[in-house]
Every structure is written in C-alpha cells, then in structure tokens.
C-alpha cells in the first residue's frame, strides 16, 4: 500500500475489505516515521500504545462485521498545542517540556470517536508563534521537498507529516496563517474554518479572538471529511457556534458555474514573487474556465492587517501566557528563594526569544498610557478590515488570492529580522482578524519544484462554498494526490 498517497476513504475501504488492518497500517506508518522523520523533525512525541489500542478496537469492529465509523483506522497527527490525555503536550516550549495533560481537547476526542488513530504530536513553533517552525524549542522542522528550507509555520510539523506521507491527515491551529501558510509551503491542503466553527476546548491558548483549529490533508475531500467530524457546538467552549454543521462532503461536487470570485488587487502588489503570481493567475483562469465569474474587488485596508494583527495577537498572548508561572504545571526554576523570583526566573528560563518578544510587545500595548494608542487603535482598524470584506462579499461569493507571497524560504533566512518574518503572513492574517474561513490548495510549483498555494476565502460559516471551489479546482488541475 502506498502510504504517500493514501486518503481517508482509501484507508477506511481497504480496512473494511480486509486488505489491511488498522493495526498493520498504524505499524507501517510508525516504520515510515522511524525511517524518514529524523531529518524532517515533524513529530515531537509518538503515541504508539494509544494508537495500537485504538487500531485494535477498529479491527475488532471489522471481525464482528460491524459498520466502520467514517475515519476508521485513519492515522493522524495532532499539532502539539492541543492537549491529549496522558500524552505529553509541549506547545513546542521548554516551559511545558514535561506536561502530561489530564484531559483531551474536543477536536482530538471527536476525531478518535470517529475512528481516527492518533500517531503522535507534531512539532510547531513555540506556542504557535512563528511562520517557519524555527521557533520550536526542541528542533526546527524541515520541508520534505527541500531539507534546506522551512516548512512554514506555525503548524510546520503537521504540514510536513502529511506531505511526507507520515500521516494521512493532521490537525493544526491558525491564528495568523499557521495552517494555510505551511500547507502552501509543503504542497498540501490546509483549511482554517470560521471563528467558532470548531471548538477550541483543550487548545493551548495563544490569542483567543484569533485562534482556530483545522485540518491539513492531501485532498480537499479529506479536509471536508475532517472538518465535518470536528465542527459543531461544544458546551465546553462558549465561543463555539450553535449552528448546524452542513454535510461538507456530499455537496463537494456540486458545480461551481455561476459563482462569483473576487480578486483583490491588494493581494497582487509589491512583494509577490513572479512565479507565485503566475501560478495563482493560472489557477484563477482555470476557475474561470469552469464557469466562475471573475470580479475585481478591493480590500483597501489590507496594508494595515499585519500591524493590527501584531498588536491584537500579542496583547492577547501576554494575558494568555501569564498562567505559566511554575506553580501548577510545567517548568519551575531551581534557583529561587522568593515567589516573585520564582515567577520571573521560571518564565525567563522557560520561554524562547520570540515568545518573550511577543509577551513584551503585548504587555506594552496594554500598559497604562499606551492602551488607547495601540490596542484600542488596532481593534478599531480591525472593524475597518471586517467592513472591507463585508463590502466585497456583497459582490462576490468567495475571494481568491495567493496564500503566501513567496514559496518556502531557507532556514535562517528571516530569523534575525522579526518584521521580515511577520510579513510572511501578509495574505493570511486578515481572515483571522475578520473571522472568515480560508483554505490553501496546491496550485503548482516553482522552477525549483517548490509548492505554491492558492487561497480561497469565503463568508462566515460558508465553508461549503469554499470547499466546492477548492474541490473543482483540484479536480480540474489533476492535483491533490501528487505529493
């Protein structure tokens, strides 16, 4: 069985037909991880016992002749920012190096309830802060396509695991582009749902008004299957939406003829690499040839998205990360005499440079005398960004853009310049700020064979339309399985 191209439906049907067992499949994925993950670094912790135990229950269903759940035996990886009961969860940080959560996050629980087999926890930037995965306190992840390049971030391990065939699907989290940008860099599909579509219970909080959980997969159909599984109201997350979950999978193949696609000129300006531009323009032409109407639109406040994001996200992070104080869990400094010393030294030893930078920026932006000038100002601009999309969505059903202005860059290329790194998210942050869903779909390669991603953005809670467009593009371009 070719693990590289295996999809969710293929896993389920080959287990149901007795061509393989869930246990054998899990074991072959572990062999592949052991053979290949060394130089890539996609996984931080493997969960063999948990995986085999789960796989056994699936195999028992087969031998009893029972119906298999939709994700039966599907080997998945979980970004290490989602807590897993009894399974080490680090958020890519030294401060949680030895943390064993006493409960499961809702998204993981729903995946396992649908039959998925959790292989392990995937590497990421510390507390999901980064665009290259170089901020992981344990090791960077390398792009399976070219080991001298980054996989993107912060869900770099989740993207690399799928791209290298070391998981059929993974979960990532997206606060400023952390699912879509690595998906684009690694040549896989990455979906960020609407804010509130998927419960964040058990997601280690970075910026609560911006954090989303979503899937990274090989195909659009797989992304729809995972989303259908994890979406929906959860009483344990008061921000989860009390709205019915449509069947994203059944509607996938509905024709896209007549849909209006907006092309915002602000996403095709300075900084966009020519090879990315031509691939994305070709993808838009392809969608036009499928009967979509292409409509030029403007999102005039786009240039303000990154500064807005870095004020809002860091302010929320400074508050969310206050809990890491060495009292209840995680690292505690060994060399302290007083309580105040314990807090300060624990945090200095436990957090990496980028996390400290963001806590400092956020604390500054919220501090007396600066709150109005920075935090409140950014929240007002956020309203303007939302209005841009409101206007655009009066004229169009979805918006198409590049996912990232460049393909995967080299390790070390941007680590000395935080601002240059922040600009890697220039096309993705706005959707997080506005709360709309977005997906990145592979749309070609550069001459150096580096993947390029097409981003499709849709109205709040209209993942169905977004997925339909992504699916018809994937089908017509013959992509999706060629990893």
């Amino acid at each position: 069985m070719d693990l590289q191209s295996l999809t969710i439906d293929e896993v389920r049907s080959s287990i149901a037909a007795g061509q393989t067992t869930a246990t054998a499949l899990a074991r072959s994925f572990y062999s592949k991880i052991e053979a290949q993950d060394g130089p890539i670094g996609a996984y931080l912790t493997l969960s063999k016992d948990r995986a085999i135990e789960k796989a056994n229950t699936i195999d028992a269903l087969v031998s009893q002749g029972k119906e298999l759940p939709p994700l039966a035996g599907v080997p998945v990886g979980i970004k290490d920012v989602m807590v897993t009961c009894g399974l080490r969860t680090t958020a890519g940080s030294k401060i949680l190096d030895n943390y064993i959560p006493p409960y499961d996050s809702t998204a993981v629980r729903r995946l396992e309830a649908a039959g998925a087999v959790v292989l392990g926890k995937t590497n990421c930037d510390e507390f999901a802060m980064g665009s290259s995965n170089e901020n992981s306190a344990f090791k960077p992840v390398r792009n399976p396509r070219d080991l001298s390049r980054v996989p993107g971030g912060s869900s770099g391990g989740s993207a690399a695991a799928v791209a290298a065939g070391m998981a059929v699907a993974t979960l990532g989290s997206d606060t400023g582009g952390s699912i879509r940008q690595p998906a684009s860099f690694c040549g896989v599909v990455g979906l960020m749902p609407t804010y509130g579509r998927v419960s964040r219970y058990g997601l280690i909080a970075f910026a609560s008004s911006l954090d989303h959980i979503g899937p990274l997969t090989k195909t659009v159909r797989d992304a729809a299957i995972v989303l259908r599984t994890i979406a929906g109201r959860d009483p344990m997350d008061s921000t989860s939406a009390d709205l019915p979950v449509p069947d994203y999978v059944t509607d996938l193949d509905k024709p896209v003829r007549g849909l209006r696609l907006g092309v915002p000129k602000e996403y095709f300006g300075e900084g966009l690499e020519p090879e990315v531009r031509s691939a994305v323009e070709a993808a838009i032409e392809k969608l036009a040839s499928l009967g979509c109407e292409i409509v030029p639109v403007s999102l005039p406040h786009t240039e303000y998205a990154i500064p807005t994001y870095y004020l809002v996200a860091t302010a929320e992070a400074s508050s969310n990360l206050a809990r890491y104080d060495g009292v209840r869990y995680g690292h505690r400094s060994k060399t302290v005499r007083t309580l105040a010393e314990m807090y300060e030294r624990t945090r200095d030893e436990g957090f990496g440079a980028e996390v400290k930078r963001r806590i400092m920026l956020g604390t500054y932006a919220l501090s007396a005398g600066y709150y109005d000038a920075y935090y409140l100002k950014a929240q007002r601009v956020r309203t303007l960004l939302a209005r841009d999309f409101e206007e655009a969505f009066k004229k169009v059903d979805a918006i198409v853009t590049p996912t990232s202005p460049t393909p995967a860059f080299k390790l070390g290329e941007k680590t000395e310049d935080p601002l240059a790194m922040y600009l890697a998210d220039v096309y993705t942050v706005t959707a997080d700020l506005v709360g709309i869903p977005g997906i990145s779909v592979p749309c070609g390669e550069t001459r150096q064979r580096l993947p390029i991603g097409l981003q499709i953005l849709a109205r709040h809670f209209d993942e169905a339309t977004m997925l339909r467009i992504a699916q018809s593009y994937e089908k017509s371009s013959g992509r999706g399985l060629k990893i």
Binding site: T194, S240, R345, T383, G435, F461
Partner: protein, 110 residues
C-alpha cells in the same frame, strides 16, 4: 526611539519576566522596530469606529437567525454533571506539592 532600556525593564516587570542584560538590549531594538512599523495605523482616521473584538458576532451564518459564536451566557448549572478533576490528577503536573496543595516559596516573612 519610542522605548528605552528603562521602559523595557518596567514592562518586563509587569510581565513577570526576568531578562538578562543582553536580552534587554536586543528587546529595545526589536520593540522599537516593530512599534515604528505599527505606527502606520495612525495614518487612518478611526474616530467614530467601534473596536471590533468579536467580529464574528456581527454575522449570521447562512440560514440561521442567530449570530455566530453564542453571545448569551449559559445556564448556571453543571454541564452534563461532569465531575471536577480529581485532586491527584490536578496535582500530577505540579513542580512541587504535598499531595493536597501546590507548594511555592514562602510569601510572608514573620
């Protein structure tokens, strides 16, 4: 220069961070360069614009009369009669505990 080394020390104290001298110097540079960049927000007149923290609340999902994330509070009752975390589970990750409490360095001297 918006931020000085003293400002950085003050903010670090607010954030409960003990930065080394090297980290302090680097932080002054980084914060100034980021704050210079975010200054472009001041080109926008935002008077009369309300701050948009929970943007999704302003939008209803397709076919629904209710806004996105629920804005109302839930009933004040134990959800699903879920028991609290057992004490041993809650303490299992504690760097230091006596089996009943989290232990920290003494706060009050007598």
């Amino acid at each position: 220069m918006k931020v000085t080394e003293d400002d950085v020390r003050y903010v670090a104290a607010l954030a409960n961070l003990e930065l080394t001298d090297d980290e302090n110097r680097r932080m002054v540079e980084d914060l100034n360069s980021i704050l210079d960049y975010v200054d472009r927000l001041n080109k926008l007149d935002t008077s009369g614009i309300s701050p948009g923290g929970q943007v999704a609340e302003r939008f209803a999902g397709p076919g629904s009369e209710r806004a996105g994330p629920t804005s109302e509070l839930r009933e004040d009752q134990l959800y699903g009669l879920r028991p609290s975390l057992p004490q041993t589970d809650a303490l299992v990750n504690a760097p230091k505990s006596d089996g009943t409490f989290f232990l920290v360095p003494k706060v009050i001297e007598r």
